[in-house]
Amino acid sequence: MKKIRYATILVIGVLLFTACEKFLEKTPDATVSDKDIFGTYTSFQGFVDPNYGEVINYNTMYSTTTMDCGGETINNFITWSPAYTCWTGNYWYLSGQDDYSYNDMTSLFANAKYGYGIYYNVSGGIWTGGWRGIRRCNVALQNLKLLTEATDEERKLIEGQIYFFRAYFHHQIIDAFGGMAYIDTVFAPSDEMKLPRLTYQGTAEKIVKDYDRAIALLPVDWDQTVIGGQRPGANTGRATKGAAMAYKAKLLLYAGSPLMNKYSGNDYIYNVEYCKRAATAGWEMIQLANAGTYSLVPWSNYSDNFYKNDGTMPWTKETIWQRVSRTSGSTDNEFINRQMSFSRMGGRYGEQVNQLFVDKFEMADGTRYQVSYDGDNAKRWNLRDPRFRKNIIVDRDQHGMDSRSIIYLFAGAGTPATDKGTAQQISLPYLMKKYWPVGANGFDKLYTQLRIINPLMRLAEVYLDYAEAVTAAYGPTGMAPGANLTAVDALNKVRVRAGMPPATAAATGYANFMDLVRNERTVEFCFEGHYWYDIRRWYIAHLPENLQCVDLIFDKSWTTFNRSVFKTKVFENPKHYWLPINRNQTLLFPGMYQNPGWQ
């Protein structure tokens, strides 16, 4: 009996005095130290690399989003898509204000749900992904001192990429949202983060400084570095000196453009000072290209800039910057399905091209297209700028080997039935072709080796940025100090490559040479995501001629051609010149004020 009593007391005693704290002192695996992450070149590079994932591929980001927000295309069917809201003017939908943020339909500009995509190759959009990338850069800079197991060259490569991305993300944000504070520190959760917005030019000045640092640090060609030389070609796609230089020039041109100039306290006119700096920066970049680093691809290989159908990456001598990839053929085909192909061809939706945008493609002789040519079977779709049929499909085009891949875009009944009509979601008789290789359809099935890319910076743009900056600063026949390339020459480099006759400063058919530069830019970069930025930048987006979507209605036998306004865009001045900032942000503190027109 006594034994039991003692035993019981003992058990209770043990229970009561068992140390309890340790039981809960458990965390999974040993945590990784800062030194583990930032100590070596390989690991540090692995920390920097997710920045490449925050870069937006304008046209393949998310299923129903194209960057064709300027009115060049429409899909009247996918009315729930962010791209369609460019027609209805509800930019909240683009910038992810809380009312319109969906997990499954993320906007190109902002994925308001932060958590999404941190670990995956899904960008948070220009806004969310950009700020996330900026933090990553600042964290990396803060820890640069820990990078001990690396050569001097390797440290420069890392540092150069960090500065490039910090500049690039700010640059992307302010182009869409307007001037912002420049973030160059790592904030702690409890820090007061109430930095006020700067003007566009105010932010740009800080961005330029980072681009300059990147230019000084980054290599022209990664294969020429020790680490890159070990695996030639393996670093293609990484930030280079050229990319930093091209973007610096582009940023200065933007800063000097009418809209940005206005939002920096001036007027809706080109800022000559910035254009001069843009011209100089552009000339520096052109010199780098002339040294053999970059060149325009011949017209016959033009499409290599946009797609390859043999399993290799579309990356040419002309390419300066684009989103790196992990994509395989099937996802690229999905992109075609969504954006270009329609159900009979094995796709889904298909964006169609506005007749007014089609009109911007000149005739082959360099004259402008006239509405009176609409009924002229010889001129309407033929005898045009070669870039027209390269980029756009018209009625009766066969887009594949299989005879069933002929596309019918007439209106009304006929045999075989037309593809134009609500059931096929085709409302307008023009389809985008730029990224759609012949044969990548449900009949020929040539898409397993498909690689599609929307280039973000190619040499053609360097020339046209230069041409625009020089025209604004020094006139069509002027040039940057020390340069030997006039605006006209720069323009013609791009124009002649496409097989068009060279233009002159007289700019026949245009109000002035600047209009010609702008038209050339519009045509050369059609469907590459430039147009919406450009017409805003030039402060012409609100003009009536840029608001309509026009349909061309014709019968099967091409006897009558009638234009009809299909849709009118909502674009209020100044409201739609800038995207609205997430309302929650603007309600946090007065310095983060909302863009005009959005409350």
Binding site: P189, L195, A423, L587
Partner: protein, 1180 residues
């Protein structure tokens, strides 16, 4: 057999396993019953007795304690003053009693374990027992009767006494008694050990049939509280209790949560689905809140089954003895942090000493869809479409092109071309009229002094209401759910002071659902337009047109894309050891418990379906002059070809275009995929003390518990709690209780890891006071109680938020890896493995604290025939965790905002409960209960952005407060004049008569999101009420239960109009409510005018979701014929019942209760049901 996924559940391995388990179960059960079958107990049992100078009563009770014998005697048989001594070793009961009663005039009879004691002279006349009635008693009458237990068995030895006298008798071996009573005698009292004492009015009757209920099932006496039971009268916490019987009768489908609706005052359930199995991709088990929602983090109550945290949904209702709902701080304190949202305690049935009782319950349920949106037919819908176009033409000329010509309208009406211009009632096409559920249950229970056992086996099957079937694709794609539950509860009394308990329980379930796209199937069920296509064309081809996107043929989508199955296997085991330590000090005991739970969940095997070739014939074919009435088959086909769009199955290994060859369904491997296993190890040690010292009663509890649980390969979760409880009662009048919990959570840094949360409660039983005595005939019970305490919670808080970390991704060579950004030209090459910054740490993450108070009054009138209970409670929650995802910080942080404990919510409410029950002298019992609860929360702080206008801040409003633009009036604007005179929205381009004028709340001249103001109620009702009533007479019983809610509105969302996406979907209520001069709905309209391509302007149109429903009605009958008894059946009961039968509400006709989304085309939940059950219950 292999092909059918339903059967594939029964793989050989699994069947073997199930059989093994069943075997084990029965071995355990029969081990118990073997011990029982020792029939000659009285001869076998040898007793040791060593008692000196004690009263007979004391001696008898010590025999009772050391054996299973029970003595039955009338109090006048034994002289309590007489002292005796006895000393025997290993003697039989006969011997002992003979010794004991030597020289007394006491005789005895031993019947198994019952020993009846009589006065010797009575034995001589066993049938007519004399009593000590005074001889001068003037008038007497003879009464007689029979006493049985609830199973209908005669009860011998029941004491029958005339109340207030010593006059009485006991029943004989057949349960029969006769008694001479004074004519003026009023009440007979029947009492028997282990049975409920019953009082019966004598009145003029002379013959009585009495049924005594078992005392142990009497809820009045004992309440299950945390880690123990308490006498009801001494409970000071807010606790509600329901019986297993009530739960059993309320079962609706496999999810037990649905059965609790309205059953427990204070518990609110929100049920959303009729899905077989209750839970699936978009369907969830019934939501439960105790006393409302007080936090935006997990507000679900803690559910404990036999003291261990376990999910409630898959419990077999036939295993339940009681469900207790613990609501205030005092009651939940001992559960510490997990109990902050209230606790549901489920106690399972255990064996009781007695013969083995084997019972069977079978229920078959016919279920029909409760409410689902019907749609107008093609003709009417298209006519309305024309009205809509007519209405909007002034602003949108282009929609004129969509006008449906009269000829088409007539064709829709005449259905001349049902394939081109169809008129399909999709409800009919997609659903069956009735689906069936089955429920089988078998239990065996009983026990001896040493072993008590309870075992059950139950099978539940839920059927599918959708018309999903094998059309030749080789599999049945339907929804299904099958579950097998088992339980074995064993109690071993190893010594008189030591009890060892083993519980083994669990279930196996399998379910299936179509592999087809849920975004295609569900919208179709709820909102497919009638004029799209026939589901299947006459040539056998299924209709579809991928181009529509919004409406793919849902029937096709659900039938031809395979079927997914999933399985769950759950086994729970408890080992409990109880040791009384009276030898140390009386009333002390220790208890140890070890539980191990294991739930495996696996998906698969799945059948993969690739769809079929589908087509769509353009309706414009009817305008083709070539279409004639009597065309030959081939001519017609040729014409159709011109208008036919063929569709290839959207996703398959290789898109095969026109060369499409149908891929037969393929079957994935038998072994399940994505298996995840939940494991939980729980152990606790406790010390209990309970003792009465005269008028003082004292009790104490000290308990320590730990839990380690993990799902799949996650790092296990650890938890540790130390709790204590002390109670003191004085004279059953003054009650005091103190609880303290010292809780540990691994979620916090060492600074906050352990928190101490005290609570106390006071009770005053006024009715036990002397001064109250005169009132007692009217108010027999009056009790006040008050509790006040703190409870901590770490629910909804992620682990390790206090530590920062880095995420390191492994290098990978796979080309499809999402984790590596690839560089390289001409081909992509492997890049460096990626590293990410992990969660930004917040070292101050800590406990969410609830300060709860509760004031309660309990009353009983007229011997508890009428009881009224009222509780007022209020709570203040502070330090509420706000997840980073819900916080807003400047975007400059560049990362997910960091979580923090910054929230605060206040809540108050009350509960009112009325119970009335009365049994008339002729055995008619009728009862009426009503409970009515109110709970409302208010956010005090939730991290609102500083510059937000007050009306858009969360603070000051309920959790989930909807915010809407509101209309200026309740009727749309009637004329253009009205339109010109109102503030427009951001655009006035498309404004028309029939639109609403909305309120420009901030008066800035434009309507935008800033004009959204708090309006209406959250989708969680503030008030719930549950009246119920029943009646029983002899073998017949019937009851009805209602459940109602109010102050509740649907989820936020403005009216999005008719003809969404230009489809002709028109619901009957659209026709009734829409503004339309053509339909003569103008000044009486509720919804804005009809539109076709544009949308009308309107703010929120109030949509109350208040309802009252007939939750349950049943009628039951006990068949008690002799014939059945001869078969050995002690009980045979038939029950006919219905659930969710009638709904009274202003909701549109498609909504059944609480929560489906208003927008029918985004609804993806399984429809809810009305149920009709036929049950039979048998016991041997």
């Amino acid at each position: 057999m292999e092909k059918n996924p339903i059967y594939s559940f029964w793989t050989r391995k699994r069947i073997k396993f199930i059989f093994l388990t069943m075997k084990l179960l029965f071995v355990l059960i029969f081990a118990g019953s073997m011990a029982l079958s020792a029939t000659t107990y009285s001869q076998k049992t040898k007793i040791n007795l060593q008692i000196e100078n004690s009263s007979l009563i004391e001696i008898l009770s010590s025999i009772e304690k050391s054996s299973e014998f029970i003595f039955v005697y009338n109090s006048n048989v034994i002289n309590s003053d007489e002292k005796k001594s006895i000393s025997v070793k290993g003697e039989t009961i006969d011997k002992i009693l003979t010794l004991l009663f030597q020289g007394d005039d006491i005789s005895y009879r031993v019947d198994d374990r019952q020993v009846f004691l009589y006065k010797s002279e009575e034995v001589k006349k066993p049938d007519v027992i004399k009593e000590a009635v005074k001889s001068d008693q003037p008038q007497k009458k003879k009464i007689s009767g029979i006493v049985k237990d609830i199973k209908g068995l005669s009860l011998p030895g029941v004491t029958v006494i005339v109340k207030g006298t010593t006059l009485g008798t006991i029943t004989n071996m057949d349960g029969i008694f006769t008694l001479d009573v004074p004519v003026n005698a009023q009440i007979l009292v029947f009492s028997f050990i282990g049975m409920k004492t019953q009082e019966i009015q004598i009145a003029n009757k002379t013959s009585f049939a009495i049924v005594l209920g078992e005392a142990t099932v009497d809820l009045e006496d004992v309440v299950v509280v945390g880690y123990g039971v308490q006498k009801k009268e001494s409970v000071v916490g807010a606790i509600t209790q329901a019986t297993g019987e009530l739960v059993k009768s309320s079962v609706q489908g496999a999810d037990l949560g649905n059965a609790l609706t309205g059953a427990l005052p204070g518990l609110m359930t929100i049920s959303t689905t009729g899905l077989p199995g209750g839970q699936g991709e978009d369907d969830d088990f019934a939501l439960m809140y105790i006393r409302g929602q007080k936090t935006w983090n997990n507000a679900a109550p803690l559910v404990l089954v036999d003291g261990v945290e376990r999910p409630l949904q898959n419990i077999n209702p036939y295993e339940i003895e009681k469900i207790s709902l613990l609501k205030d701080a005092s009651a939940t304190a001992v559960f510490g942090v997990k109990g902050a949202n209230g606790v549901i305690l489920i106690t399972t049935l255990r064996g009781k000493e007695g013969k083995p009782i084997l019972s069977f319950d079978m229920t078959t349920t016919a279920k029909t869809i409760s409410r689902i949106p019907s749609r107008l037919g093609s003709y009417e819908a298209n006519l309305m479409k024309n009205y809509a176009i007519l209405n909007e033409v002034p602003t949108t000329e282009s929609s004129w092109a969509s006008v449906v010509p009269n000829r088409w309208l007539n064709l829709y009406k005449s259905q001349q071309y049902p394939e081109y211009l169809p008129n399909v009632d999709w409800m009919n096409e997609f659903t069956k009229d009735v689906a069936w559920d089955q429920n089988l249950n078998m239990t065996l229970s009983g026990g001896t002094k040493v072993v008590k056992y309870f075992g059950s086996l139950a099978y539940t099957r839920e059927g599918d209401i959708l018309k999903l079937q094998d059309y030749g694709q080789g599999y049945d794609p339907g929804f299904s759910f099958n579950r097998l539950n088992f339980r074995s509860n064993l109690d071993f009394d190893i010594t008189p002071t030591t009890r060892f308990t083993v519980n083994l329980s669990g279930f196996f379930s399998n379910s299936s659902r179509p592999g087809g796209d849920k975004f295609k199937g569900w919208p179709y069920l709820y909102s497919a337009p009638p004029d799209l296509w026939p589901a299947q064309y006459s040539d056998g081809t299924w209709a579809d047109n991928l181009a529509y996107d919004r409406y793919s043929n849902g029937i096709y989508a659900f039938n031809f894309f395979g079927v997914n199955t999933s399985k769950s296997t759950n086994i729970n085991t408890d080992f409990v050891f109880d040791q009384k330590l009276d030898f140390i000090t009386k009333g002390l005991s220790v208890n140890a418990k070890l539980s191990y739970d294991n739930t495996g969940y696996s998906t698969g095997p799945n059948t993969v379906g690739y769809g079929k070739l589908t087509k769509w014939i353009k309706p414009t074919i009817v305008d083709d002059p070539a279409l004639k009435a009597n065309m030959s088959e081939s001519e017609r086909r040729a014409l159709e070809a011109q208008y036919t769009l063929w569709q290839f199955p959207p996703v398959q290994p290789v898109l095969t275009g026109y060369n499409y060859v149908e891929t037969p369904g393929t079957y994935s491997s038998e072994s399940g995929t994505n298996t995840s296993t939940y494991r939980s190890l729980y152990y606790q040690f406790s010390v209990n003390y309970a003792r009465d010292f005269g008028k003082h009663s004292v009790s104490g509890l000290g308990l320590m518990s730990r839990q380690i649980q993990a799902t799949g390969s996650t790092f296990p979760e650890y938890r540790e709690d130390w709790v204590g409880r002390a109670t003191y009662g004085y004279d059953k009048r003054y009650l005091f209780e103190f609880n303290g919990a010292y809780n540990g959570s691994e979620k916090f840094s060492s600074k906050y890891r352990f928190g101490f949360f005290p609570s106390m409660a006071l009770g005053w039983v006024v009715s036990n006071e002397k001064f109250f005595e005169p009132l007692r005939p009217v108010i027999n019970n009056l009790k006040f109680r008050y509790s006040d305490g703190k409870v901590g919670s770490d629910e909804g808080i992620k682990r390790w938020l206090y530590i920062g970390d880095w995420n390191v991704r492994a290098a990978t060579t796979s080309t499809s890896s999402e984790d590596v950004f690839r560089f390289g030209s001409p081909t992509l090459q492997i890049a460096y493995p990626l590293r990410y910054e992990g969660v930004i740490p917040n070292p101050d993450i800590q406990w969410e604290t609830a300060h709860k108070r509760d004031f309660g009054v309990e009353t009983g009138f007229f011997k508890n025939q009428l009881k009224i209970l009222f509780d007022y409670f209020w709570e203040d929650r502070t330090n509420i965790f706000v997840s980073g995802a819900d916080r807003v910080v400047p975007v400059y942080l560049g990362a997910n905002p960091v979580s923090a404990n910054i929230g605060e919510v206040k809540m108050h409410g009350w509960e009112f409960e009325l119970q009335f029950s009365r049994t008339t002298s002729n055995g008619l019992t009728f009862w009426f209960n009503h409970s009515w609860t109110f709970a409302k929360d208010q956010i005090i702080e939730r991290g609102d952005p500083e510059l937000k206008p007050f009306y858009q801040k969360q603070a000051g409003y309920q959790i989930g407060q909807p915010r809407e633009t509101v209309n200026q009036s309740t009727v749309p604007l009637q004329t253009w004049n009205d339109i010109y005179n109102t503030v427009t929205g951001s655009s006035s381009t498309y404004k028309l008569p029939g639109d609403y004028a909305v309120v420009d709340y901030n008066s800035d001249g434009i309507i935008d999101a800033n004009d959204d103001i708090p309006y209406g109620y959250p989708s969680r009702p503030q008030f719930t009420y549950a009246p119920s009533a029943g009646i029983s007479y002899k073998n017949l019983s019937a009851n009805v239960r209602f459940y109602g809610v109010y102050n509740v509105e649907g989820e936020a969302g403005t009216y999005n109009g008719v003809f969404a996406n230009q489809f002709s979907i028109v619901y009957p209520w659209d026709k009734e409510r829409a503004w339309s001069p053509e339909l003569d709905n103008t000044t009486n309209a509720i919804n804005p005018g009809l539109r076709f391509v544009t949308s009308s302007t309107s703010g929120y149109i109030p949509t109350s979701r208040a309802y009252l429903k007939l939750q349950h009605a049943e009628i039951g009958y006990n068949i008690t014929s002799e014939y059945i008894k001869r078969l050995g059946v002690s009980r045979l009961r038939l029950v006919l019942s219905g659930d969710n039968l009638i709904l009274w509400s202003k909701m549109t006709e498609d909504l059944d209760s609480d929560r489906p989304t208003v927008q029918t085309n985004t609804r993806r939940t399984y429809p809810k049901f009305k149920r009709f059950n036929l049950g039979i219950s048998l016991a041997f």
